[in-house]
Symmetry: C2
Subunit: 505 residues, 2 copies
């Protein structure tokens, strides 16, 4: 490697860091908006975020970055296609090409509108009033279509240009090709479970669980599986999310309700993404090496801890005594098996973020179909409630009683996050496939969990996945780690193995 | 006014708003740093804030702003020297001239160092260890000297260049000329009170005051005197401050300890500055019309509500029954007069923010002398504890047992706020002088307070002071509102009238 290339590469990394640093300021303002912003400050916040988005965009599209990328276009000079440098330049090029397609006006408008739209969404959901939200949805969809046109330039469906931002290199046809075979088999599994004579006592879940003790228990569980509260926080927000602001600052949010476990799974799980985000560590902040391979990969880490670990019997062999001590009024006299069956209750429900592992994926497929149609122009925003309710009836055999339990339950579309939903179900698939590979290498994980040992799994994930950042695209990473291309089979195997015995079906 | 001038002026205002908008993003990050930032995120936060400071500085010193100011240099074309436009251009010019004297490197370095230095200060204060803090203080003082040299260009004492940032147009000699006559008379008053046979029962103040009820009572009192929690927040921080982030978003912080009233005064009082900051309202955000005339004027509004109103007997005639109901264990059977005497207890104490109204000003004079010497080069940072303790002994007749109760009790120097302290005592003087004028116009304020009526005073302040923003410099505003130049006499009158009867001296 020549010293000129070295200098050019280092300058590029410096530029990328400045962009990421400015973006991270926006992350603080967004986190604050969703946690602590006084209501009257909403419009001003939209102006602040729009300004930062515009300035970040200007930095990210500077001609200097273009020149540096052009000077680094020879893979061999970077150390070849397997090198970290090559990957960093490849992803910088992808971001640059995408950003330079977007006028600053559109970027600022998207930021401003989606900030205000999220605030409108909070109110509309509370009022169970889709009509209140519709004008905002129309604006967001129009802007996202404009974004998709600008980025996609007519190559493939417009939706794919949005999806690519979250799941680089994956097309909507590829998503459909893993979703479709799964859909029918999930519907069958849900039906078999529904018709089973064996049903858990779910009343266990709605007894007395004081919110402050939930918070305390969540902190303890999160700490036990490796979340560092010296480098992170846990706050309350209308939409539970995880914001990796920067090195040493990763923030989870959650919401508590009266029932027990869901919040806890979420907290325990949401802490994980920071390990992905951290990538090779703070030194790689701002480069691809410091990012997850895709949002689906990122999500797979949450899903693994939330579902594969956090809802396993082995996990609760370890934590259940502490849970009983924390919530004696609710859990005294409840045996572990009954508790475990209750937290794995499978049944159609309205709200995605509270859904069980089996029906969850159907919630995603519903959204995937709808948002493809919205961006493709086959569905108008005003038609959303009708199509939502009709599809919901088909998948779940019931119709939402209002739109707060239906099409305006999620923050995503208000925030301009279209193309994002599929990554949740992809995350479930990646997680199951990685977990099978981890089992092969690490031996009896259940025994380890039952002893409260989570470090071996975490170490494996760090080594095999986190430390690779975005050196490989998701499809290649899956093959590298598991030896096979992505498939829905491991997830189906897991669901069958966990739920058929529980329900005797 | 010509339409060319109109267009030029409007463009200038747009530019200034963009600068203020970017600065306000930094305010959110600073607020967050002092309230919720995880410890491990401190270094990254310093990088974020330095970047924003550097970018703001670049915007604020753009040649475009210089050109616009040059094109607006004729007062007549702006509507004359009494016009709002003239004032906005005058202050924009002052900010621009100041900013263009400072290299971006210095601005970023100051931001980075003062962010880290504040974090170091929190730790050093906790450890009661000046030595830990000294290297940071040395860096801050060196950078502030550099700033003073760059801005002052050898015109007058270096310290004045820093003071001018907080109290525009005032020199340190002018500050000394109002401080000096006050000092001796305060020392006399403190001595007279100390030697009085009548002393309040201060044990009332350290009974059982649960922190959550303090917070609740504070919110109620703040609301009653006009603070709008829809447009603001109250959080906990190591250093109580008020951050006016932008329209609709004004944030107070406080710290609670076991004793009763001080926190309450502070909350009730700190909400006021937003009325000053708001100036003519959100439409003036970013211009002088949306700023206070000076930090002393700004502070005078807090001081008026905290001391002149909040420690008056009339105020407590209204609030005391609610206080008794909120803190029955502490206040049952305590009569109003005894309570009122206790919260007006005057005695030398270590901590400025907890000092009574009389000794408070001596705390400020001590700091004023020391920081002048630090910037003037007559005092080295390493000598600070010695000089502090010696002067403290002279003013208060006692020596701090450690530096946490002495020279490292305040956050200001760690934050680079040098030249800031005098504005607190100036604020007390402005407040007393304004209050006398308000009494003349509004009649018996005590009767109004006793009935819980605070709107007439607030209305007067809005009209006479807040709505004028920085249209007039502080010295001119005082003359305009009170008919006289600033003097320490009204403050002395107030202190004599309140405390001599209480102590029978």
């Amino acid at each position: 490697m020549s010293s000129t290339i070295d200098a050019t590469y280092n300058e590029l990394v410096d530029e990328l860091r400045q962009v990421a640093l400015l973006r991270s300021c926006g992350s603080v303002l967004s986190w604050d908006e969703q946690t602590y912003l006084p209501p009257a400050g909403g419009e001003f916040r939209a102006e602040q975020l729009a300004l930062l988005a515009g300035m970040s965009h200007e930095q990210a599209t500077s001609s200097r970055i273009g020149d540096l990328l052009a000077a680094l276009s020879n893979p061999a000079s970077l150390g070849g296609e397997d090198s970290l440098r090559f990957a960093n330049v490849r992803e910088a090029r992808r971001h640059y090409d995408r950003a330079t397609q977007l006028p600053r006006r559109l970027v600022e408008e998207l930021s401003r509108v989606t900030t205000l739209s999220q605030q409108a969404w909070v109110k509309a959901r509370k009022a169970q009033d889709f009509a209140q939200f519709l004008p905002w949805l129309e604006q967001v969809v129009a802007l996202k279509r404009e974004e998709a046109q600008a980025v996609g330039q007519g190559r493939g469906p417009a939706y794919d240009a949005l999806l690519d931002d979250y799941e680089p290199g994956m097309t909507s046809d590829e998503v459909a090709s893993v979703f479709d075979p799964l859909k029918a088999r999930l519907v069958d599994l849900v039906a078999a479970i529904r018709d089973s004579g064996r049903q858990p006592d779910v009343s266990i879940l709605t007894r007395e669980y004081p919110v402050d003790r939930q918070a305390e228990f969540s902190r303890r569980a999160a700490t036990a599986i490796g979340f560092d509260f010296d480098a992170g926080r846990l706050d309350i927000a209308a939409h539970p999310f995880c914001s990796g602001i920067g090195p040493g600052d990763c923030r989870l949010t959650t919401r508590y309700d009266a029932s027990f476990p869901r919040g806890i799974f979420r907290h325990a799980a949401r802490g994980r993404p920071r390990h992905v985000r951290a990538g090779f560590g703070p030194a790689h902040f701002g480069t691809a090496a410091g990012e997850a391979a895709s949002l689906g990969i990122h999500e797979s880490q949450s899903r693994m801890w939330e579902n594969l670990v956090g809802r396993s019997r082995a996990f609760w062999q370890h934590f259940y005594p502490a849970a009983q001590a924390t919530f004696p009024a609710a859990l005294d006299g409840v045996v572990l098996d009954d508790f475990h069956a209750a937290i794995n209750d499978v049944r159609p429900s309205w709200i995605r973020v509270e859904a069980d592992e089996v029906t969850y994926n159907l919630h995603i497929m519903l959204r995937f179909d709808i948002e493809r149609a919205l961006i493709g122009g086959d569905l108008q925003p005003a038609e959303l409630p009708g199509v939502w309710n009709e599809t919901f009836q088909r998948y779940f055999g019931m119709t939402p009683p209002n739109d707060a339990l239906g099409c305006i339950q999620d923050v995503h579309w208000s925030a301009g996050l279209i193309g994002y939903f599929p990554t949740y179900a992809l995350g479930n698939m990646y997680a199951a496939q990685f977990f099978e590979a981890a089992r092969v290498e690490l031996g009896d994980l259940d025994q380890q969990f039952a002893r409260g040992e989570f470090a071996p799994l975490l170490g494996w994930l760090r080594r095999e996945i986190h430390s690779r950042g975005l050196q490989f695209r998701a499809a290649d990473l899956v093959k590298l780690v598991t030896g096979k291309p992505l498939s829905s089979e491991p997830l189906l195997r897991h669901l069958n193995e966990r739920f058929r015995p529980l329900y005797g079906v």
